[in-house]
């Protein structure tokens, strides 16, 4: 069975890493290439780069940044943020992304997922689901968590999978940047709805919190600030996972 993955997320704008909380209040957290390689050396299994910028100039800067990260890195790279259509998917794959995460555009035009899977293969199409607690379930929001959508997270993840998404990047909006641990109930609900890998995101707090998310059924768990602030390394996280009985890559 594949090892459970520990992933570091770099939110980039204008070629720099930024980090906020609940998708707001972004601040500078360093050079992405340097960070990606340091995390690789620490044993990270994958890097996710999310483009959180809005302007055209930022976008071009960010494609160049992705090219630089992709060329330097020798672990998998997933890229998301602002993907509107097949051309964007093609451009990011050509820049060196191994997988492309699609969020808002898929909610508006779900057929983008099937088109992308038919053209590039399901293994490089990631549905990015930003979810928040809504009663006993979870609802989905788009546009960097600013627009609530009339869909449940588990049903949308299932629909996206059936259309062709090969992985679910599942972010808890409630926990994003809050360092309170992953939303284990959200992980369980979506895990039971899909058969493709689920990457848990939002709330990473301690090395043990990653083990909890993976034991709750996530195939991979993603952190940002915990790594950027130097509070724990991928090695520390993997030690905690092994101690909790989770199989990770040596």
């Amino acid at each position: 069975m594949p090892a459970k993955r520990i992933i570091a997320c770099l939110d980039i704008r204008d070629g720099r890493i930024v980090k906020g909380r609940q998708f707001a209040g972004l601040r500078d957290a360093g050079d992405p290439v340097e960070r990606a390689l340091r995390y690789r050396d620490d044993g990270i299994d994958e890097i996710v780069v999310l483009d959180v910028s809005a302007t055209l100039e930022s976008r071009l800067a960010n494609v160049r940044t992705i090219e630089a990260i992709a060329a330097a890195l020798d672990v998998p790279l997933t890229v998301g943020g602002g993907v509107r259509g097949l051309d964007d998917v093609a451009r990011l794959l050509d820049a060196g992304a191994d997988k492309v995460a699609i969020n808002s555009a898929a909610l508006e035009r779900p057929e983008l997922l099937s088109d992308a899977a038919a053209r590039f293969g399901a293994q490089c199409v990631v549905i990015s689901v930003d979810a928040y607690r809504n009663g006993s379930g979870y609802a989905v929001a788009s546009h960097s968590a600013s627009r609530p959508q009339p869909r449940n997270a588990d049903a949308w993840a299932r629909e996206a999978q059936d259309l062709g998404a090969g992985e679910v990047l599942l972010t808890s909006i409630d926990r994003d940047g809050g360092r309170e641990g992953f939303d284990l109930d959200l992980i369980r609900q979506v895990r039971s709805a899909v058969s493709v890998p689920v990457v848990a995101s939002g709330g990473a707090s301690t090395p043990e919190s990653f083990a909890q998310a993976l034991l709750a059924g996530a195939d991979a768990a993603l952190g940002a600030s915990i790594f950027h602030n130097g509070e724990a390394s991928a090695g520390d996280v993997k030690d905690a996972c092994r101690a909790g009985g989770v199989v990770v890559r040596p």
Binding site: L77, A122, V196
Partner: protein, 202 residues
Amino acid sequence: MSITVGIVTLGAANRRSIEAALVRAGATTRFIDEPFAVGTCDALVLPGVANFGYVAQELDRTGMRSALIEAITFGVPLLGICVGFQLLFERSDEAPSARGLGIFAGSVRRLHTPCVPHMGWNRVDPQSDAIAQGWAYFANAYAPDAGVRDAIATTHDGDDTFACAAARGNVLGVQFHPERSSAYGAQLLTAFVRSAEVAYAR
């Protein structure tokens, strides 16, 4: 002088990460998508982030199919990666009417691993000394059976065991992504480049 590795780029492919990894392994690289360019390369890499049927169709449309088979017959070392590995077999369930290159006997079928696609780092278990044991990065929904004629390593997940590497003569194929498999992948690519240097020197 370093050898020139031609990276076959037919439509969708993660060519940049493969290019960078081959340069790290000591090669000079060239992207090729036309038959005449095949002969200018000392070794070839057939990558793949794409659909089997799409690439098979592109092989025919561009005339690359016969150019690649000619180069392989001539003894040029070739490495197939992911869908590029699958294309070395005769056919695939992903596109039943499409033809592979047929270098390796057998066909490629859908996985029945617990999670499809089979995504992440998994163990490469060698069946011969042609490949090392280690952890490699996979992202695949299809693979050949473990028992295919040319298999040199297998991987398993749940109750599915499949061939993750095969070799025949000057042709090597791997289901995983060496360019994204950190030190293990770098070792494999360096060995491939070295074998091409040896072949070139002869």
